[in-house]
Every structure is written in structure tokens, then in C-alpha cells.
């Protein structure tokens, strides 16, 4: 679809084999990120943001995950069909990810140094062919990375175990690890959201400056619409495993089309919002028995008869805004 897309997800379906049967989590997600572009991915908890991005990284365990339909193109390569070695080569260099929970994403029985050294060693093997990567060189790169995320005394930090670091420091270490091999594209899964608000703000501004400096593409997953508005050019709104609306951030904030997006924005105290979707009554439904038709119809204030029958396709409502809702079919909007 997009020529220069670094990540291009097309009609992705991801299912999980669970005890109750098959959990159909992602049901036709399409999404792209161009080189250097900053894109947001927003949706309430459990809507499948992390699943989509882990699929893009090629790290979703299968089983239990199944990929019945769709494609994930990462720098032109089909992630779901690529050989393991090919995927390995793209990690760190092409794509990298900051994981949602900094407290559990570091291995508790290895020091920060041991972990970051391996990331460098195995990442750089594919990048730099300029001679051997000596121990001192690896160490130097690691120290540089820790300094860049403003960690004091990087030499000491290398010798510490995750347990000995605060949550904020661990988050910084993870950011350093994600960026140390100079990826072209970074997925940031709710960075800092597991930490308290002031630290979260520090982490976000740090991340912003690092990303700007490196000029890389970013997909930012967040619950915080204020952050979306400030940082990304384009945004995807997800609901229950589907993208329901997509467009320029400004446009979507000014004129949300999808009833879910409208609820989302109205539930947020202007600009400073944090809690999501509390203005919309009801909860996400169980993916083993997802609602038919438009998955939002049980909660939608404007639901019509046909909403329960068939999945509404994405339609274009303006040059850069798309929405999946029957209200906009037949020239409406």
C-alpha cells in the first residue's frame, strides 16, 4: 500500500488457542508506519495493541498464537514467513521494541552489563563488519548507551542486577537496550506507564529527544491522549482487535468520526486526559465469543440493525482520515 513503509501490517488476524476454544483477538488489523514517521496506537486495555506489535516483532509464541490470515511486512520482508535467522538479523537494527513492563522485562539473575553486552554483541554482528567487536568496545558502546539515557554512573550500573535499580532506572536501561543497535524503527509500548506520573513524564520527554536525535520511525502505544496529541503525526484508534479509525492527529482530535473515538475524546478532560474509555459504558467483550458485525455495536449509542450483521469496512471520509463505521457509508460525513 505505502511504498516506503517500514512496517506494513495488512489485514492481520491473530488467534489464540485457549482452554475455552479459540480466542479471536486480532480481526483484520491494517496499519503502516513510514520511515521517520511518528505514529500513535490508542485503545483501551485488552484491545490487542501489544499482540499486534509482538506479531510485528515476530516474537509472539506460536502456539498458542495462530495467524490464520494477513501479512506483516517489515522493511519489505514477510515476518510471518521469514526464516528465523532472517528475523534475527532485523532485530535491533531494523526494528526494536520497548516493552510495556520495565519491571519484568529484564532478566533478574543477570547483571545489566551481561544483558546489554549480549544485545550489542548479537546485534552488531550484523551491522558492523569493521573488525572484531572486542570486549572493551562492547563495554564502551554499552556505557555510551547508558549515558545517553541519562543514567548516572553507568560503570556501576553495568555491574548491578535489575533488582538493585528503581523502576525508572530499569525503564531507562530498557530504552538504552532498545536503541543501542540503532534501529530504524522503534515500537514503544506504553513507555513509563507502569511508573508514577512524574517519572513517566521524564521518560517520555527523554524518549522524545532520543528519537528526534536519531531520526527514527516510532510507533507509540499509549492510553494518554494528551501524549498522542503532542507527539505523533498520525494515529490509529483500535477497538477489540480492529482498527476503527485512522488519520492525522489534528483531524481526529478536531473531528472524530467513529462513535468509539468520539466517546474516547469526550471522556477525557481536555488535553490532560489519562483514563480511557470511562465515558463509554460497558466493557470489552470476550474474544472467544466476540460480537458479530461491528464489534463495538453492544456499546454503541448509534448502533443500527446492520451493525450486528456485517463487519463495517474502512471507508475514506477525508483525504487522510479513514473510519470503519456504517454511519459513513453512502456519502455521509
Amino acid at each position: 500500500m505505502e511504498e516506503k513503509a517500514i512496517l506494513d501490517i495488512r489485514d492481520l488476524h491473530v488467534w489464540f488457542r485457549v482452554y475455552e476454544g479459540v480466542s479471536r483477538v486480532l480481526d483484520g488489523v491494517s496499519l503502516y508506519v513510514r520511515g521517520g514517521e511518528h505514529v500513535g496506537l490508542v485503545g483501551e486495555t485488552g484491545c490487542g495493541k501489544t499482540v499486534a506489535m509482538k506479531t510485528a516483532m515476530g516474537i509472539l509464541r506460536s502456539p498458542p498464537a495462530l495467524f490464520p490470515q494477513g501479512q506483516v511486512l517489515l522493511a519489505g520482508r514477510d515476518v510471518l514467513k521469514a526464516a528465523p535467522i532472517e528475523l534475527l538479523r532485523m532485530k535491533g537494527k531494523t526494528i526494536s521494541m520497548i516493552f510495556q513492563d520495565p519491571l519484568s522485562a529484564l532478566n533478574p539473575v543477570f547483571t545489566v552489563g551481561q544483558q546489554i553486552f549480549d544485545v550489542i554483541r548479537f546485534g552488531h554482528r550484523w551491522i558492523r563488519d569493521d573488525g572484531a567487536l572486542t570486549k572493551t568496545k562492547v563495554r564502551g558502546i554499552a556505557m555510551e548507551a547508558l549515558t545517553s539515557v541519562q543514567l548516572p554512573d553507568p560503570r556501576r550500573i553495568l555491574s548491578l542486577y535489575p533488582l538493585e535499580l528503581s523502576g525508572g532506572m530499569r525503564q531507562r536501561v530498557l530504552i538504552a537496550m532498545a536503541l543501542v543497535n540503532r534501529p530504524r524503527f522503534l515500537i514503544a509500548d506504553e513507555p513509563g506507564s507502569a511508573l508514577d506520573v512524574t517519572i513517566q513524564a521524564q521518560i517520555l520527554s527523554l524518549l522524545k529527544s532520543l528519537v528526534k536525535e536519531a531520526g527514527i520511525a516510532v510507533l507509540l502505544i499509549t492510553h494518554d491522549l494528551g501524549v498522542v496529541r503532542e507527539t505523533v503525526e498520525r494515529v490509529y484508534i483500535m477497538y477489540a482487535g480492529r482498527v476503527v479509525e485512522e488519520g492525522q492527529t489534528v483531524e481526529i482530535f478536531d473531528d472524530p468520526k467513529h462513535p468509539y473515538t468520539q466517546g474516547l475524546l469526550s471522556s477525557v478532560p481536555r488535553l490532560t486526559g489519562e483514563a480511557l474509555a470511562e465515558g463509554i459504558p460497558g466493557t470489552l467483550s470476550d474474544y472467544t465469543e466476540a460480537p458479530s458485525g461491528c464489534r463495538f455495536h453492544p456499546r454503541c449509542p448509534q448502533a443500527m440493525e446492520k451493525c450486528a450483521q456485517q463487519k463495517p469496512p474502512m471507508v475514506k471520509v477525508s483525504t487522510k482520515q479513514h473510519v470503519a463505521c456504517y454511519l459513513y457509508h453512502g456519502g455521509g460525513g
Binding site: 532485530k91 535491533g92 521494541m97 513492563d101 519484568s104 533478574p108 539473575v109 533488582l163
Partner: protein, 342 residues
């Protein structure tokens, strides 16, 4: 470093426990009905002879004094006389202990080289034949007493197949290597005597395996459980996200955290192997401490009983100390907790 304090404290506690144990066993041994001197000398001995032996053994003194004499003796390597052998118990133990140590060490080796890999494989290939084998072994280990396993192995490999010897540590025809550690495998290795080594190996396989059975099953089950637990951790997914190759993830980033749980129960495994050894040694006529200990109990040879109990207690303390140190080495959380604590 606080962790060393922690280990030291654990060790001192264990020594205290050993003291407590010695008092308890001492009292029980002396309070049991029946006169050991009479038992030792037989029904036809004269009363004076019995009295004389009681005097020689210090049994005519008050109990606390007897205990004091005993315990101070220990620090000079004097464990008192054995009624059965009329030798110092220390000598007897030195004579019988190596055979038992060798047997139990070999059993530990079985547990490590079979239990751990089986557990890893069972976790990797869930519900495959390896997984089922582990399940069956764990079940047998719990349900069937080790001496029965021993009898079964004897029946199969010695009587039916005739490929392994039934009893003893060495064949009659094999000259023993010169005594150094008392561990035949080690001594013959030091000597470079490979025919003795091979023969000793053949003899030790069955009894040590019978002893190890329970432990192999336990460790394999536990390794399997903690491997699959670790496999689901976020940090493993993250490692894959960072582009660490699978082989490194499995043998470094998974194996180390997954080894903590099996390691911590290794002390218990050792204890159960020691107790298994008692009956298995009898089945295989293994000239170890168990045989000596059982006879001592039956004959009310209380210095020998005390000696055996204390040595086993000491072995237990040492093994647990090693396990503590290893666990602290593998799991920084243990170390750091104690360094921060208090």
C-alpha cells in the same frame, strides 16, 4: 559482604542443631531398656566382667558427666569404643564411610546428569515420550521404595541379563587400588588402574541408580516446571525481541533462572538419598555405613549409633551449606536480600 554473614549464621545454627541432636540421641541411647555391656558380652559372662566393661566404657558415671566426656572426646577425634568391634568408633566410621559417600555421590551424579536434562527435554517437548517417561519415573520414585527398585534392577540386570554384578564394590578377582580417599572410583583413577575403575563402576551402577531414582524424578519434574515457567516470563520474550539467538536464550537466559528451584531442593534430595542408602546397601551387600549403623542399632552399640548419626548430621550440614552458597551465587535476589536486610 552480608551474604557471607548469612551463610556463616546458617552454619552456626546447623552446628547448634548438631549439638542438640547429639544430646537427644545420647539420652535416647542410654535410656533404652537392656544393658549394652551384657548384650556385648553374652549371657554367660560373669557379672564382674560386665561391671568391668561398664566401668571401662564409663557407664558407671552420672549421665551429664558421660555426655561431657563423650563430647570433649569428639573434638580429639575420639568417638568412644564400639561394643561390636571393640575399636574406636572413629576408626570404624573411617572404614565404612567412604563406601557410602561414594554411593551417594554417584547417586547425586545420576540425578544431575539424568534429572536435569530430562527435565529440560520434557519442558521443551511437552507430552512427548520424554515427558511421559519423566512422569512415570517421578511416580515410581514416590510410590516404590528404593530397595524394591534395587531388587528389581538386580533381578533384571544381574540374574536375567547377567551384565552387571549383584553385590559388593569390587569383584573378588580385581585387586583393589591402594587406599587413598577410600572412594574406589577416585582411587583407581588416581592410580590409573582402569580395570579396577571399570569393575568398580559396574558394581556401583545399580545400587546408586536405585538410590537416585526418587531424586531423578523429583529434579526432572521440578526442572520441567521451572523451565516452562521461565519460558513464559516477559524477560524471555524481551530477549527474543532484542535479537538474542534461541540457543543463547535457552542455555543462558532460561537455564540459570530455571536452575534455582531444583538447586534449592538438592539438599533434600541428598537427605533422601542417604536414607535410601540404608536399605539399598543391605540389598546390594554394600559394605557401607548403613550396614554398620543398622547392626549398631540392633545391638544397642550406642557409641556407634551416636557416631553414625553425628556423621550423617554433619554431612547434611555440609551439603546444605554448599547448596546455600550455590543458590546465592546463582540467584542474586537471595544475596541482595540478605545484604539489604537489617
Amino acid at each position: 559482604m552480608r551474604f557471607s554473614y548469612f551463610v556463616l549464621r546458617r552454619w552456626l545454627y546447623s552446628i547448634l542443631v548438631l549439638f542438640g541432636l547429639s544430646i537427644l540421641i545420647f539420652i535416647i541411647a542410654r535410656m533404652l531398656p537392656g544393658d549394652p555391656a551384657r548384650l556385648a558380652l553374652g549371657p554367660f559372662a560373669l557379672q564382674e566382667q560386665v561391671e568391668h566393661l561398664r566401668h571401662v566404657m564409663g557407664m558407671d558415671k552420672p549421665l551429664p558427666l558421660q555426655y561431657w566426656t563423650y563430647i570433649t572426646g569428639i573434638f580429639h577425634g575420639d568417638f568412644g569404643l564400639s561394643f561390636q568391634t571393640r575399636r574406636n568408633v572413629a576408626l570404624d566410621i573411617a572404614h565404612y564411610l567412604p563406601a557410602t559417600v561414594e554411593l551417594v555421590l554417584m547417586a547425586i551424579v545420576w540425578v544431575l546428569v539424568l534429572g536435569v536434562p530430562l527435565g529440560v527435554l520434557a519442558a521443551r517437548y511437552k507430552d512427548s515420550w520424554v515427558d511421559n517417561l519423566v512422569r512415570v519415573m517421578a511416580f515410581i520414585g514416590v510410590a516404590v521404595p528404593p530397595f524394591v527398585v534395587g531388587l528389581f534392577l538386580q533381578l533384571t540386570f544381574s540374574y536375567l541379563l547377567g551384565i552387571l554384578p549383584t553385590t559388593g564394590r569390587l569383584s573378588l578377582m580385581t585387586p583393589a587400588p591402594p587406599l587413598r580417599t577410600g572412594l574406589l572410583l577416585l582411587d583407581s583413577l588416581i592410580e590409573g588402574d582402569f580395570s579396577a575403575l571399570g569393575d568398580a563402576l559396574k558394581h556401583i551402577i545399580l545400587p546408586s541408580f536405585a538410590i537416585a531414582m526418587t531424586g531423578i524424578g523429583q529434579i526432572a519434574r521440578l526442572t520441567r516446571a521451572s523451565m516452562s515457567d521461565v519460558a513464559n516470563q516477559d524477560y524471555i520474550e524481551a530477549s527474543r525481541g532484542f535479537g538474542i539467538p534461541n540457543r543463547v536464550i535457552a542455555f543462558k537466559y532460561m537455564l540459570k533462572p530455571a536452575s534455582i528451584a531444583p538447586l534449592t531442593i538438592l539438599g533434600l534430595t541428598f537427605a533422601s538419598e542417604l536414607s535410601n542408602a540404608f536399605l539399598v546397601e543391605t540389598v546390594f551387600a554394600w559394605p557401607g555405613l548403613a550396614k554398620y549403623g543398622i547392626r549398631a542399632i540392633l545391638r544397642k552399640d550406642f557409641n556407634a549409633v551416636m557416631g553414625v548419626v553425628l556423621i550423617i548430621g554433619l554431612a547434611f550440614v555440609i551439603v546444605n551449606l554448599i547448596v546455600d552458597i550455590l543458590a546465592g551465587y546463582v540467584d542474586p535476589r537471595i544475596r541482595i536480600k540478605h545484604e539489604e536486610g537489617e
